[in-house]
Amino acid sequence: MSKRDRINSVSATGGSPAEYDFAPVGDMVRSAAGDDYSPIEDYGAIGDGRSVALVSRAGSIDWLCLPHFSAPPLFSALLDRRKGGCFAIRPTTPFRSWRRYARDSNVLETWFETDTGVVHITDCMALLPHRQQHDTLRPQAEILRLVECLEGEVDLEVVCAPRPDFARAGGWFEARRALGWAYCWGDAVAFLQGELPLTCTEDAATVHGRTRVTASDIFCMSLAYTRRDIAVIPALGAAAVDRVSDTRSWWQDWSDSCTFDGMYRGAVVRSALVLKLLHYDLSGAVVAAPTTSLPEAVGGIRNWDYRYCWLRDAAMTVQAFAELGYTHEASFFIDWLLHATALTRPRLDILYDIYGETHLPESEVRDFEGYSRSRPVRVGNAAQAQLQLDVYGAVIEAAHLFVRHGGRLDRGEARALKGFGDQVCSSWREPDEGIWEKRDGRVHHTYSKMMAWVALDRLLDLAEGGHLRVPRARFEAERKAIEEAIETHGFDVELDAYVAYFGAKEPDASLLLASRYRYRAADHPRMQGTCAFIERTLDVDGLIYRYPPESDGMPGREGAFGIASFWMVEHLALAGRVAEAQIRFERLLESSSDLGLYAEEIDPETGSALGNFPQAFTHVGLITAAMALRRAEAEAPADGNRTDGKKSQ
């Protein structure tokens, strides 16, 4: 098969953008060399289960950490356009661009239309079919960019400017004749190959080239990374096209095994694909996001490093994987969860890196201006040192879900879970920083107490099922004491709602989870009151803030919280308010990027994405909300809203 035939089988292209089944979004007219920052939602994510690259709508890879999510970046123009470095392929003249993912995959396709022609670029990080993964010599990571001119002629420029470790590590390009260009830094090398003439700048820091492509011209570019080993340099030409095809097939095979069959399958599968992108395939960990320091308020200081694993996300992530039929991922994640935490047991820290490391000191990259001048750029996360009692409930709930879906706990895991229960009994009376990781001191967060209740409740349930042994009387007494504390101090009679912390008058969106975790049924009067309170105080046009804006003592106003908005959907579905839930859900679907991706937050005024991107937590929220909707629809009468609700606890 010729390269041309292979290309056609990969991209199924051949016409103008107008012929494709997606619509242009927003104002696409751009200068080819814009100086400003792309909107966060303008990025597409590609990955290989070890790291993720963000590709802008303008054809520039502006973020990539190697060899894994938490490693220093090779390209970081996302956080400083001048210093950060990128790998761009783009027209030299103004263009319009459209993009989509190839069906149910993480292979990104972008069309560029200029006054003179149309170019199609396929971007992916190479994956091999399962059967070949151990048979073939391959680099530790490879970015593949396949360029095809569909119509007319287009002048393209290629710029590859690696700037390792936020431009703090020195590196240089070396010409290797027919092998392309080797970028060497530290103990690593990245081979850049392209089927076009490339030249190097005098300082050996950047390789660039220009070419004119005409209809039916095709060329490939490959950036292959190897660290601490003899490099593997993949072949270009038809072999590269085959690798793109294999990668697309890998993702599609994975997506096809998704068992979700309800409405919104497309959005659910896209969210599952994002979770899989963030699932580190060597340890089973799931990172919160592949980026650091994308701001929650543009120009502000709410910029955090999310390239780690938050235990809080555990229960929801396991549930999402398990209920979508991805039992391998769920089981792998549970394994990571229970083994990564071994060093800190019975205490649980709130976040770990992909290998279970908890020493993640926070520092600032002072030379970087930050995304849209949002300083500082942070590496590491000081929240690691916080006390957040809800993580015990999240981990134990994850294990409970794992068992409910047929998993088995070994003796060590059972002992570890019981140890977590003991820890909850001895520490739930302490104040903590709470789920939102505020940095203004500890209080008695109602949600933390609820999750402490969940921890003991699930352990008692697991003991009931014979999966582990616990001191039943003690756990039951403590569970009761927690409940009494919540009902006495965490519920405000005047507001008729659970409140953010004991004695407060503030709402907290996380309290919507009380129904999901079966602390209180969704139609329980106190939950109804809490839901109404949150709707009154935190809801803006279907988007939910996590707590009252500007109440955290930090400058700048953050956006509405993505997952909190999905929690509201889930809560309403559980309460039988299915039609309302559905309206909200569809409103939220409109808030995603054109590729179906979500950041941590959404600006209610502009609809822009805010915070790290794409965010696992938000996509987990979408999946669990869709599943709740599907269950509610299955249970609801055919004529629409169910108002009677379930029996309250």
Binding site: I230, A231, V232, A235
Partner: protein, 171 residues
């Protein structure tokens, strides 16, 4: 006489070779682990036989140990022929061996290794390993230093063992 001495001291030479190989491998592995060089002789040798990375490492290591033993025999033969074996003579021999390896052997590898690409033809489906380049510099500019040091350590240990054994061609 030399052959008879070797046969007679077979187990001793095997042990010396083992010790020398440990010293050499430790230096090479350490330099790879510390990021000083990306060269792995075990991987380089193993991939000549298989494209499976894990198998290549194991197979390569076995072939490498066997090669180490053969070279140990050669070193001892030289000691016996010259009639002198000492730590400094072994060191000199190892340094010479390292230079030959860097200047002569490594540049030839792309033309004999079935899975190694070369600068002139570019990578193919089967030939895709990075070639070492002049004196192995492609694998990091400290590669020559680590190879020379490792080979010198190999010779030093063998020479020292020979010196301590007081082995002579006469047995």
């Amino acid at each position: 006489m030399i052959f008879a001495s070797l046969i007679e001291n077979f187990w001793s030479v095997l042990l010396w070779s083992f010790l020398a190989s440990i010293a050499m491998t430790a230096i090479l592995q350490t330099s790879q682990g510390l990021g000083l060089s990306r060269l792995s002789f075990a991987f380089l040798v193993g991939t000549a036989f298989t494209s499976r990375r894990s198998r290549a490492h194991v197979l390569g290591f076995m072939v490498y140990v066997l090669g180490g033993w053969l070279f140990a025999v050669l070193y001892v033969v030289v000691f016996l022929i010259v009639g002198h074996g000492s730590w400094w003579f072994g060191l000199l021999l190892g340094l010479a061996h390292g230079v030959v390896l860097l200047v002569v052997v490594l540049p030839l590898v792309p033309y004999v290794h079935p899975r190694m690409a070369n600068d002139y033809d570019g990578p193919t489906l089967t030939q895709r390993l990075e070639p070492p380049g002049f004196i192995g510099l492609n694998y990091g500019y400290r590669t020559p230093l680590s190879v020379i040091t490792a080979q010198a350590a190999f010779g030093l240990v063998l020479g020292l063992c020979f010196q301590m054994s007081e082995l002579t061609a006469g047995g």
